[in-house]
Amino acid sequence: MPKTLELPLSEAAVRALHVGDEVLLTGTLVTGRDAAHKYLHSVAHDARFDEMVRGRLLYHCGPVVKKEADGSWRVVAAGPTTSIREEPYEADTIEAYGIRGVIGKGGMGPKTLAALQKHGAVYLHAIGGLAAVLGQCVTRVLGVYKLEELGPPEAMWHLEVKDFPAVVTMDAHGASLHAQMEADSAAAARRLMENNPHRA
């Protein structure tokens, strides 16, 4: 059974999570992807982003949104984007903004893994391409930051989610499902190359 996690998260709650745990997330989080990371890295500190994200989660996502007639926003589709592109920035972002976890897909590298361990944070893997299901987990759009400057996919969306499903694939204890998978499949790939049934 998946664990239900209410946001914000305490450091103790994060350190209690381990690779393989399935979770359902409820509460508010913030989206941020390529342009947001580059921006955050270019400024000393951003108070508004800090206020939205501290103790909470950063979601690697560029949603499809629709502006309704009354000016409100509706999330139409919102699955995760590939996280590894943020590897150069994420460790610093986690430290500077007290982020308790990152939601994305594909996993991240050793620099982020070390930051998760040092600061008490976790990597939560959502299913890529699951935009309709995950979009329906967004219950409210609380606001959007830097929309004009960055455009809808790259803007920072402040969202409320309910029962958003994810799996812990990198934890605060230095474990990474991705590092293990890479090593295991590398050995299998090498064997498959050498074992060619078509070769006479």
């Binding site: 984007t81 594909g106 890529g128 979009g135 329906q136 960055l150 790939a189 049934p197």
Partner: protein, 311 residues
């Protein structure tokens, strides 16, 4: 020919392709689910993927928020004006974006500005193929960035892989690319391959291979044997759905070839994510066929989603 009558069927092609998956892909995902033990993570993952497609189809929302690079392959007879086809495709893309069937997914590469209607330099990308006999067919591929980023092009020989200029070398490149893709390209993927060509022709053909039905067979016996073998054996890498481990790492391998110059031997590989969005619109006499079915005169409206929103 006036572009206007072409626009509504093209909008419907975009809606249909963005908000669902083709039958062959759904069958392959269901088969992959059934190979896993009930209640296991890969089983649940495949079940959620299928549920996502069902909900996307029902509500006419995109299967994936990355509505991809829009690639159109147009085959047209002498009665069709290619200029009007281009105009109609651009209009249809603007309309589909306005209706949120597409995300504003196009960025000016120098200024970094998001283009609100998805129409910009080289976007949408249209391959025009004139034919001598009358007819009109538009195939659309929506290729997400995550899977496009794990595509790869090899120049053989490649000593690191032990890949010579032969089918064993090609096989090594495909295994290497699928291993490197891990879960980054939203596994299980389908691999389109082109042997030969120049760098441009190679990638173009590798993508066109992805229009082949998953269950079809390659007319070239040698390539067919390689496709059949790799479609099974690559699953032995164990990468599984989203790279979390499982029995299915790949849904299909499709290999074509293009003539090359003696100095070059490229192997170009395009990886397509499980959210494998492809669609075909065809005109037969005065009627339109969408993925082989008669086009509905009025496309289904998007049902409202059960969402509470605030400004």
């Amino acid at each position: 020919m006036d572009p206007q009558p072409l626009v509504p069927p093209l909008v419907e092609l975009l809606r249909h392709t963005s908000c669902g998956l083709a039958k062959d892909v759904l069958e392959a995902l269901a088969a992959a689910r059934d190979r896993e033990e009930a209640g296991s993570r890969p089983h649940n993952t495949f079940a959620l993927m299928l549920e996502n497609v069902r909900r996307a189809r029902e509500a006419s929302v995109p299967v994936c928020q990355d509505t991809g690079t829009l690639i159109f392959y147009v085959d047209y007879g002498p009665e069709v004006s290619p200029f009007e086809v281009e105009d109609a495709i651009q209009q249809a893309v603007r309309e589909a974006t306005r209706l949120s069937y597409l995300r504003p997914n196009t960025v000016d590469s120098v200024s970094g500005k998001s283009l609100s209607d998805n129409v910009g330099l080289g976007s949408p990308h249209i391959h025009l193929h004139p034919q001598r006999s009358p007819g009109f067919r538009v195939r659309l591929m929506m290729k997400g960035g995550g899977c496009e980023n794990v595509g790869a092009q090899y120049a053989l020989p490649d000593s690191r892989l032990g890949a010579d200029r032969d089918l064993d070398g090609v096989r090594r490149c495909i295994i290497d690319a699928v291993h490197k893709a891990q879960g980054f390209g939203c596994a299980p993927g389908t691999v389109g391959v082109c042997i030969g060509g120049d760098r441009v022709i190679g990638y173009t053909e590798s993508k066109e291979q992805l229009f082949r039905p998953l269950q079809d067979r390659n007319p070239d016996a040698g390539l067919d044997a390689l496709e059949q073998e790799l479609t099974t054996s690559l699953n032995g890498l164990g990468i599984g759905p989203m790279g979390w481990g499982g029995k299915t790492t790949i849904l299909g391998v499709k290999i074509g070839q293009r003539a090359r110059v003696p100095a070059s031997f490229f192997v170009s590989i395009s990886y397509m994510c499980w959210a494998y969005r492809k669609g075909e619109l065809r005109r037969e006499g005065d009627r339109w066929l969408l993925d082989g079915e008669p086009l509905q005169p009025a496309p289904p409206q998007r049902s409202s989603l059960p969402l509470r929103v605030a400004s």
